[in-house]
């Protein structure tokens, strides 16, 4: 599916390129071809656009789309996952004539976006999260999502080389499959450098709970953790706390390099301009809506933050090597024999689960090397 996307340069990893995602470069011929049909696209965020995290990653892609010819972008932030988001979608359609709507929060899908997709069959809807199912959901609805665990694996390699205490920390929101997959990939990346490395994990229970995130960060640092990363909506507090306490941090969602000029190592970032541009291209070209857009580093759905000053040459070399293998295709993160942290074999020897394997979306374990347990 992902080959549908525009020829967005696959890797925009120029040093210090926090704004790189805004500079979408398109060949001239494609530009003029796209200019044919004017499109109004609406983007809806669950939090503030400038949260240094989940919403900012989406907003960066929306900003990049504003540069495409014939594309008008309208946005609304802080829209709760209630009937309010249904009315916001309808308002975008009725008041602004939007033809394409990006519902960027997971909770917008069912029932809100599905209901609106049925009510407005001529409008196209795209949801971030990967829930669209053939035969079950309307044809004018779609999902896009990225395999960001690839970036977490690479960030784990960098963390593994950088850590002196061999103790990494991970602050996680909820023990859902997507989050567990990131914790596991990060830990496995680090363990590929040194098998004695452990990751301590704390679940805060909420997507956005800055006070608890700061408490968790301080508690982990007190336990000797010297590289912190997280999966919460905004990594701002975690990265800032790490910097203040003089340890290293690895980012998530968008780049938080500006918040930690000394200790920011790298980070796992989304590159939503790829699926956004693919949807716009299909709409302007009159092609059917792509219903399921997914990809990893290779397809340009995720990217790494530029290395920070604290990252050594050995770390860069190893991470770049693995990244090259991922970009070539064929690098598998989750393969057997893999044990969880209770000693059970979760992936049998000889089995290898590639990124598209639906088995990975049901992940309910923490791998060996993760200290912590899944609550509930």
């Amino acid at each position: 599916m992902s080959q549908d996307r525009l020829t967005v340069p696959r890797r925009r990893l120029l040093a210090g390129s926090a704004l790189a995602s805004a500079s979408l470069v398109l060949p001239g011929a494609l530009r003029s071809a796209l200019a044919q049909t004017p499109v109004t696209m609406g983007v809806i965020y669950v939090g503030p656009r400038s949260d240094f995290g989940y919403n900012q990653a989406q907003a960066q892609a929306a900003a990049a789309m504003k540069r495409l010819p014939g594309v008008k972008v309208i946005e609304e932030e802080n829209v709760p996952e209630t009937a309010a988001v249904q009315k916001t979608m309808e308002a975008m359609i009725n008041q602004d004539k939007a033809g394409l709507i990006f519902a960027t929060s997971f909770g917008y899908f069912d029932p809100h976006m599905l209901k609106m997709a049925e009510k407005y069959p001529k409008v196209r809807f795209a949801h971030c999260g990967g829930m669209w199912t053939e035969g079950k959901h309307p044809k004018n609805a779609s999902s896009y999502f990225g395999y960001i665990d690839e970036c977490q694996y690479l960030a784990g390699i960098v963390a593994g080389y950088t850590s002196k205490t061999k103790k990494l920390g991970f602050i996680a929101a909820k023990p859902i499959p997507q989050v567990l997959r990131n914790i596991n990939a990060f830990t496995m990346g680090a363990k590929s450098v040194d098998p004695s490395i452990t990751t301590r994990v704390i679940f805060t229970g909420e997507w956005s709970m800055p006070v608890k995130e700061a408490e968790a960060a301080n508690s982990l640092i007190d336990q000797g953790v010297d590289v912190l990363t997280c999966h919460v909506d905004s990594p701002k507090v975690v990265v800032e706390t790490a910097e203040k306490r003089g340890i290293y941090s690895s980012g998530y969602h968008a780049s938080q390099a500006a918040l930690a000029p000394k200790g920011y190592l790298t980070g796992a970032e989304w590159d939503w301009s790829t699926p956004y541009a693919a949807q716009i291209k299909a709409l302007q070209g009159g092609a059917p809506q792509p219903n399921l857009l997914r990809g990893g580093l290779k397809e340009g759905y995720v990217k790494m933050s530029a290395y920070g000053p604290a990252v050594g040459d050995a770390a860069k070399k190893k991470a770049d090597e693995v990244k090259a293998a991922m970009l070539k295709g064929g690098f598998v993160i989750f393969k057997g024999a893999l044990k969880d942290n209770k000693g059970n074999v979760v992936i049998a020897a000889g089995t290898s689960l590639d990124q598209f394997n639906p088995e990975l979306e049901k992940m309910n374990y923490l791998v060996e090397g993760v200290l912590g347990s899944i609550p509930g």
Partner: protein, 363 residues
């Protein structure tokens, strides 16, 4: 009780006095309106936008056409009930700010019962909906009833207690949704099992607004009638206005207070049940949307009048709807309508001091 009802029946005052009373009510509201318009216009101008254009968009987005009205009413629907959740305990002089907790637990109870009866007993929707509403009301009423009981029997401050109880309620809600009541299919967003489509409460006839609006208005009218027209309402107001006098004439002040708190909690729980039955179809973290906290502002702005809650909720819904348009047309931040609401509430409460000091009154 009959003797107590007597003061409520009064002889109609002369026309002049009635007009003066009307003015007394109108002047603070008008002054607040003018003050709000001035303050917000200045803020908008300072931010580099044209106040006329912004006000035009606010009127259009909230009340400009049929779609805008439905948008407004839909956003107002849950707020009527959460406004009542604060306004009813206030009749007994109690300030409850934890309706959010009663709302989510009410929604959870409704979702759990709804699942049980629809999936296992195949109960018809027309029987299921009232039962879900009842479950939500009982749960919410129980939760805030505890706060009232703590206040009356253990002298625990009800404002603080209700807020803390709200945090406990949300933690309990999350725990239940993520463990015992979790639908195993809800992988990345823990939810209870969804209601089948035919059990979802449809929109109100002829309107694209769910039944929360109708239910809210009916409950508000009933609450107003009980508070203003019945002996029970009078006893409640006496207990709230002057507990000593109330005790002196033998009113059960404690139980009136606990009852008012429970009634408020029941409204919040009902709001949660309606959200589940009409919007979400299941209980999950989306239910924790802050409606309970918005209800505090609404009740204060309505001066705790159960009927006044309705227009204030519609106003707040309209401002939310127009905030949506302001973001899309002018790129104004989401916070701009929060600023407007802030100005409006400060002005409303501030202008209350004008009441009874009207210049046309002598002495």
């Amino acid at each position: 009780m009959n003797t107590l009802a007597a003061p409520a029946v009064n002889v109609a005052p002369p026309l002049g006095e009635r007009l003066a009373a009307l003015f007394d009510n109108l002047v603070p509201a008008l002054a607040a309106l003018v003050l709000t318009v001035l303050l917000f216009s200045v803020a908008v101008a300072l931010a580099g936008f044209d106040p006329l254009e912004v006000w035009g968009l606010i009127l259009m987005g909230g009340f400009g056409d049929a779609f805008a009205w439905q948008n407004t009413l839909q956003r107002a629907a849950p707020l009527i009930l959460t406004g009542l959740a604060v306004a009813l305990p206030a009749q007994a002089g109690r300030v409850i700010i934890g309706a959010e907790g009663a709302l989510v637990l009410g929604g959870l109870a409704a979702a759990a019962l709804g699942n049980l009866l629809s999936a296992q007993a195949q109960a018809p929707p027309l029987l299921l909906w009232p039962l879900m509403a009842l479950a939500g009301m009982l749960m919410g009423g129980f939760w805030i009833g505890i706060v009232g009981w703590l206040r009356e029997k253990r002298e625990v401050n009800e404002t603080i207690a209700s807020l803390l109880m709200s945090f406990i309620a949300i933690a309990l809600f999350n725990q239940m949704v993520e463990t015992v009541l979790r639908d195993p299919a809800s992988l990345n967003k823990p939810s209870t099992r969804p209601l089948a489509d035919n059990y979802l409460l449809p929109a109100m006839p002829g309107l694209d607004v769910h039944w929360g609006l109708g239910v809210g208005i009916v409950v508000a009218i009933v609450a107003w009638a009980v508070v203003k027209l019945t002996p029970l309402g009078l006893s409640l107001r006496v207990a709230g206005g002057n507990p000593r006098t109330a005790l002196g004439v033998g009113l059960p002040v404690s139980w009136l207070t606990i009852g008012a708190c429970a009634a408020g909690g029941a409204c919040a729980g009902l709001a949660g049940a309606v959200e589940v039955a009409a919007v979400h179809g299941a209980a999950n973290a989306s239910l924790i949307a802050g409606y309970g906290y918005s209800g505090i502002l609404i009740a204060f702005a309505a001066r705790f009048s159960p009927a006044g809650v309705v227009p204030v909720a519609v106003l707040v819904g309209g401002i939310a709807a127009s905030g949506s348009l302001l973001q899309r047309r002018l790129g104004l931040p989401d916070a701009s309508v929060t600023v407007l609401l802030g100005f409006a509430f400060v002005a409303l409460i501030g202008c209350e001091t004008l009441r009874g000091r009207s210049f046309w009154r002598k002495g």
